[in-house]
Amino acid sequence: MLEFLTGFAILVGVYSVFTLGLNVHWGYTGLFNIGVAGFFALGAYTASLLVIRPPQSDQVDDYLFAGDLANRLDALPVIGALDLWFVVALAGAALVAAMVALVIGTITIRLRGDYLAIATLGIAESVRLVFLNERWLSNGSKGLYTIPRVFDGIVSPQDYDRVYLVVVLVVFALMFAVVRALVHSPWGRVLRAIREDEVTAEASGKHVFRFKLQAFVLGAVIMGIGGALYAFDLRAISPSAFTPLLGTFIIWAMLVVGGSGRLYSPVVGALIVWGIWSGSQFLPDPLGSPHVRYFSVGALVVLVLMYAPDGITPEVLRIRDRWLARWRPRRVAANE
Amino acid sequence: MPLLDATGVRAGYGDTEILHGVDMRVDAGEIVTIIGPNGSGKSTMMKSIVGIVQASAGEISFDGRRIEALRADRRIPLGLCYVPQTENVFPTLTITENLEMGGFLRNDKLDGRIREMFELFPDLAEKRNAKAAALSGGQRQMMAVARALMLEPKLLLLDEPTAGLSPLLMGTVFQMIQNINATGVAILMVEHNAKKALAISHRGYVLAMGEVRMENTGPELAGDPQVGRLYLGNE
């Protein structure tokens, strides 16, 4: 049970990262990205390919680092013990996601909102098709496996999940802090102004395109890092994890349920949606099937949009405040 | 009894209230002009009368019926038709189709009324199968008015009918407005060329900051030194 909860918590953390990135896109800037899976896959594959050799890599000896970064760095004295390859892998994932976002963003952000949606969907599908078909690079539908554990050798495999949970939480906390600081900065205020009224923002001399592009790249970087975290959790990835359903929709569901444009909504949304998603497998058979899950999460998103457009986070915060008020009535009253 | 009687109309967009309680009336057969600076709520007033903007408070009655709660497409059949300032034609529809849409609510054959419109606006008759997007500025304005006249309204609302037209065409449009009025149609219009518009109007309103500041006969408003200084650029 504890193992299940740890695994569950790790994935909630990973999905919170994606949802945080999507919140930067949609919640704070109004960019309609329905290709989260693309950045997710890019992050996961980039990180994995940086640290391992592609399983059938005979013909790719000159391949970038020829993979295998993990072993090479580990072989170095002193530095080897620090598992720096993990940091390099995250940075690589972030970099590739940023570059792709820069290219798509430059072409489509100037266009109408729907075009960005269609373009991101197209990119996500194209990325998935490349990883599915280019076997030399990604081993096709079998995907990549033998992805190493972080702190292997220091931490025993039995304890890996617990340690990795801490790693995920630390990475999430760092990115959360960055987003939080940015949202409260003048930059964040401009983004909100753009989301509310683009014409006025443009008229008041703000270079709307540049701000939107920056936000698009930032969100993509967060998603790319999320992809890397995902890869090192499951330690085996394949294109089937990056379908529009599993790679994009579920993250939108989390943002919608949490309530977009709120700092804490990624966590609340990821917890609720992933809770329903992975909890439902314990239900008796007809209800526990994945299809019932798709149907019910699809319906949940529609219902939340209709009846609780601000998401569930405000409700959760209200409950929290009520609990806090029971202990510290005055301070909460002052906060309100 | 006035044809159109609006009292205490409040309206706006989202949380921003633009009209703060406007009273206005149009009698049968009148030409009434609303003037006022940009952002004073002139167009919003027109839209709340037609129902494109829903009034949040106040009463609007037309021809003895309360209409403020009705949807736009339920107000039109009562006999009030509206010509917006811009985007007042269906660009990908032909001239004839535009007129058919103007007469959407008529159950009889439209051919007769369309022929009357072509007699009234011969320029349009020549281009009857052209798309409205291909019309010149002046023709477009004619098209827009002709569309609104299809239902033989009792009151025609015109939002800046001469905007963007050359002085020559402006004269034509004002002449057209008087001709239409002569057939018994009351007219409520918003105009920037206040002097010329007031000259052909029976009465006028000066709107500022979402409130009626003055109300008088057309010629007297045009001659009022205060109006001249404040709203007519002291021509």
């Binding site: 109004g30 729907d114 699809g298 529609v302 | 058919e100």
Partner: protein
């Protein structure tokens, strides 16, 4: 509502762009002609895409949002037909040169009606309420994403395993000169698509309701100010788009040589469908038809060099290339 780029273009840039567009058009025609057999297949694929794309573009015209559930509405149409063919209608295959039997001719209109009802239901139960609340466009679009997943989940709950097929029997292809070989089913698919396209054209240009749909798409406020009940127009539009999606779903199944159904078949077509809509000029049904042909031909001709699984990526690439030169699509309006 939407912000579009208003880049100042010098005459030289405009000329260069025209030359590039002409070159691209020539390249396209030469490639299509050099692989004429594949190009012909592309026209058949284009006919299926057209029925879906026209529906997306009609809905976009009056509601200003790209309906993500459209692909899954097609899937629904296919499975409704499957249900009818297997459980309701008499068993019969091999009508004339086709793999399917006459019951399919009954299943198509019933599927169209069923998906039309689904589409109208979606509008009444979900989209209308969001509109009344003045929800923004993207909220409505996300709701359509939610509906897409819900529809697919529903289809999978009922029909996921085993793999389903329309009743069919194998048939010879017609052989034409120049290595062109045509599956009889493909001719049926194109013929049906053409009939529906002509019917839609007549509806849009000859009937009052059709003209009101075009008017509402042009300018919804003015339509209301003309006394047109735009809520009703919206229902009509959903109904027509749904009917076309239903037909497209059934045709998509018999387009496939094995007549196999997959719960993801509609959603997987979403990228080519959107590409067709955008390439043709979003909101313009004639553009959607043209765009569907262009995308269909590009996808099929590309298989001469690229793996067939890359077809959606090819559709997307063609869309990006067209957007670079014509941000409003080939038949997109200027304003």
């Amino acid at each position: 509502m939407f912000i579009t780029a208003r880049t100042m273009r010098s005459p030289a840039v405009v000329r260069a762009s025209r030359v590039a567009q002409a070159v691209l058009a020539i390249v396209f025609v030469v490639l299509a002609l050099s692989e004429i057999g594949l190009a012909v297949n592309g026209i058949f694929l284009g006919s299926v895409l057209a029925l879906g794309a026209v529906g997306i573009t009609l809905v976009f015209g009056v509601m200003r949002f790209a309906n993500i559930a459209h692909g899954d509405m097609m899937t629904m149409g296919a499975y409704v037909a499957f249900f009818l063919l297997v459980s309701v209608l008499p068993e019969h295959t091999g009508l004339g040169p086709f793999t399917f039997g006459f019951p399919l001719l009954i299943a198509i209109p019933v599927s169209m009606a069923a998906v039309a009802a689904l589409a109208v239901g979606m509008d009444v139960l979900v989209f209308r309420r969001l509109r009344l609340r003045r929800a923004n466009i993207v909220t409505i679009e996300i709701a359509s994403l939610g509906l897409a997943i819900a529809i697919r989940g529903f289809v999978q709950m009922i029909w996921d395993t085993p793999v389903r097929y329309f009743p069919n029997e194998g048939r010879q292809h017609f052989s034409l000169p120049a290595d062109i070989s045509i599956a009889p089913n493909h001719l049926f698919v194109s013929g049906a698509a053409l009939v529906l396209a002509i019917a839609l054209h007549l509806l849009l240009t000859r009937t009052k309701q059709g003209k009101a749909m075009r008017a509402t798409s042009d300018n919804a406020d003015l339509a209301r100010a003309s006394g047109i009940d735009t809520d009703r127009v919206l229902l009509w539009t959903w109904g027509i788009a749904g009917a076309l999606a239903g037909a497209a779903g059934v045709l998509l199944v018999i387009f496939n040589a094995t007549s196999q159904l997959k719960p993801t078949m509609g959603f997987q077509l979403l990228v080519p469908l959107f590409a067709a809509v955008v390439v043709g000029g979003i909101g313009n049904p004639y553009g959607a038809f043209l765009g569907a042909m262009l995308i269909g031909i590009s996808m099929e001709v590309s298989t001469a060099w690229a793996l067939p699984t890359y077809k959606p990526a090819i559709a997307f690439t063609v869309m990006v290339i067209v957007l670079l030169f014509r941000p409003r699509g080939i038949l997109g309006s200027k304003d």
